[in-house]
């Protein structure tokens, strides 16, 4: 829409909403937003962007090479409710990318010990479904979705498993919490021309030349990366973007 205007502003170090380049909008995390049926749930708002995430458990057979490990499945649906730009239908490439980037942060950081999801080695393990839905897309779904997934996982308690009947008693939640060993926060650093900035609005996202999403652990280590956008990045760009992500990941994590 006003791509050129956004680009020009950013070049001058300014934002349409008056923020500084490395300033996030207000981040709010709310737990237990769908407590009746979900095993865990949360809502994250970053400014006007709102994402909800819920956790459901199922029981499945482990992979033959990992007989004592459960697994996670991350799914994101860019609900047409949340933006005039999203359409109904099967998940498009944008949904898939979003889900996979969130998945990698959690999986690669080993935030969840998959062995803690084992019911009976070689036979039965928990499968944790992480479903993410934007409610209002005002930009930066990556950071919001990753944070919502972490928050929902933090809110999660195992349902009861009836070994004799071989089924889940969903109505009976145990007090057994899902343990998170790591908190891989994702920070997306955007680039327009030679200027870097954080937490893009939907209008700013349209003008972005390149972006890098970095999943950062508490000790500063990196657990997942995703480069996006049309332009190439130099190794110097990448180093600088990672430094920025590391710095700001602490602030984002403190909202949990």
């Amino acid at each position: 829409m006003n791509k050129e205007y956004v680009k020009e502003l950013i070049k001058q170090g300014k934002r349409m909403d008056g923020r500084s380049l490395e300033e996030y909008r207000n981040i709010v995390v709310e737990y237990g937003i769908s407590p009746k049926n979900a095993e865990g749930s949360a809502r994250v708002k970053i400014g006007e962007t709102e994402v909800v995430c819920g956790i459901k458990f199922e029981v499945g057979t482990p992979f033959p090479d990992k007989p004592d490990e459960g697994t996670i499945m991350v799914n994101a649906e860019l609900s047409p409710l949340s933006s005039p730009d999203f359409e109904s239908g099967p998940p498009g490439i944008e949904s898939i990318e979003l889900a996979r980037v969130v998945d990698r942060g959690i999986r690669e950081s080993k935030a969840i010990d998959f062995k803690s999801l084992c019911i009976k080695a070689g036979e039965k393990v928990w499968m944790v479904f992480i479903d993410i839905y934007p409610v209002n897309n005002a930009g930066n779904l990556f950071d919001a979705a990753a944070l919502a997934a972490l928050a929902a996982l933090k809110d999660t308690k195992f349902p009861k498993y009836d070994e004799k009947e071989g089924k889940i008693v969903y109505d009976e939640k145990t007090k057994n919490e899902l343990k998170l060993v790591e908190l891989p926060v994702e920070v997306t650093v955007c680039k327009i021309k030679n200027t870097f900035f954080l937490d893009p609005t939907d209008e700013e996202e349209e003008a972005v030349d390149a972006r890098l999403t970095v999943a950062v652990l508490e000790d500063g280590k990196l657990a997942a990366l995703q480069k996006g956008g049309e332009d190439a990045l130099t190794p110097e760009d990448i180093d600088r973007m990672i430094e920025t992500a590391q710095k700001h990941s602490k602030i984002v994590r403190s909202k949990l």
Binding site: I33, S34, P35, K36, N37, A38, E39, S41, E48, V52, G54, I55, K56, E58, N75, E77, S79, P80, L81, S82, S83, P84, S88, P90, P91, F129, D131, Y133, V135, N136, N137, A138, I168, Y170, D171, D202
Partner: protein
């Protein structure tokens, strides 16, 4: 057949008492109109986009705009197993009956060839979700400035054993209850959605419809309040 007596509702409500309701208008800033409606533990959000160009083109109606409804349960919103994402036979039928529920009141003659897209997402479900969806939807349509002759208010009326009950929970529905979702126009009390699962006598249905009017008027009060909270002004 119905020899058992339903003495006391499982959540302690009176038989003619709806669950606690809450409504808010303008919950999705990017939409042209939006609202949330909560009935007990069932929570729906609705967003309207449009009138906007209808695609595919062959679906365009040169005489008026077309309301397209998309009801969607979030994967974690249902009791028991995860709900598989994507449309189901159930959700498609709900889309149809919600479209028809608004047909008599919505005036889209000014917007020929356009689509009015109404998206409804359920964040949590505990029965009565199509009614919660409709109650959110009518607010979202009003918020989007779509002309409506009257508002629509919906309520599920049920019969558990021998008692007619307003606004069943899932727990009650699972007691082999008769389930009758009803949508009514706010002023004239006409029925724009009527479905039923179960077996009931003609006399009982008459009583159900009588009680539906009272119950939907209670919904209407909550809806009006929500609209006034956003727009202020006089109560019409």
């Amino acid at each position: 057949m119905t020899t058992t007596t339903y003495k006391k509702r499982s959540d302690g409500r009176r038989f003619d008492e709806p669950r606690e309701m809450e409504a808010k208008v303008g919950v999705v800033p990017r939409a042209d109109g939006s609202a949330m409606f909560k009935a007990g533990k069932s929570l729906a959000i609705a967003a309207v986009y449009g009138p906007r160009q209808m695609n595919p083109a062959f679906m365009r109606n040169p005489k008026k705009g077309t309301l397209r409804v998309n009801y969607n349960m979030m994967a974690f919103s249902g009791s028991g197993e995860r709900v598989r994402p994507g449309p189901s036979r159930r959700s498609k039928e709900i889309n149809l009956v919600i479209e028809k529920a608004f047909e008599p009141v919505i005036d889209t003659t000014e917007f020929s060839n356009t689509a009015i897209d109404l998206y409804i997402d359920l964040i949590q479900t505990d029965a009565g979700t199509r009614c919660a969806a409709i109650n959110a939807a009518t607010l979202a349509l009003a918020d989007a400035g779509i002309n409506m002759k009257e508002m629509i208010s919906a309520m599920a009326i049920g019969k558990v054993h021998d008692k007619i009950c307003i606004d069943l929970t899932k727990e009650e529905e699972d007691m082999e209850a008769v389930d009758i979702p009803i949508a009514m126009t706010s002023n004239s009390g006409k029925v724009t959605l009527l479905q039923m699962d179960g077996v009931i006598s003609r006399e009982d249905l008459k009583e159900v419809l009588r009680q539906a009017r009272d119950a939907t008027l209670k919904v209407y009060e909550v809806q009006k309040k929500a609209l006034m909270e956003k727009y202020g002004g006089k109560n019409e």
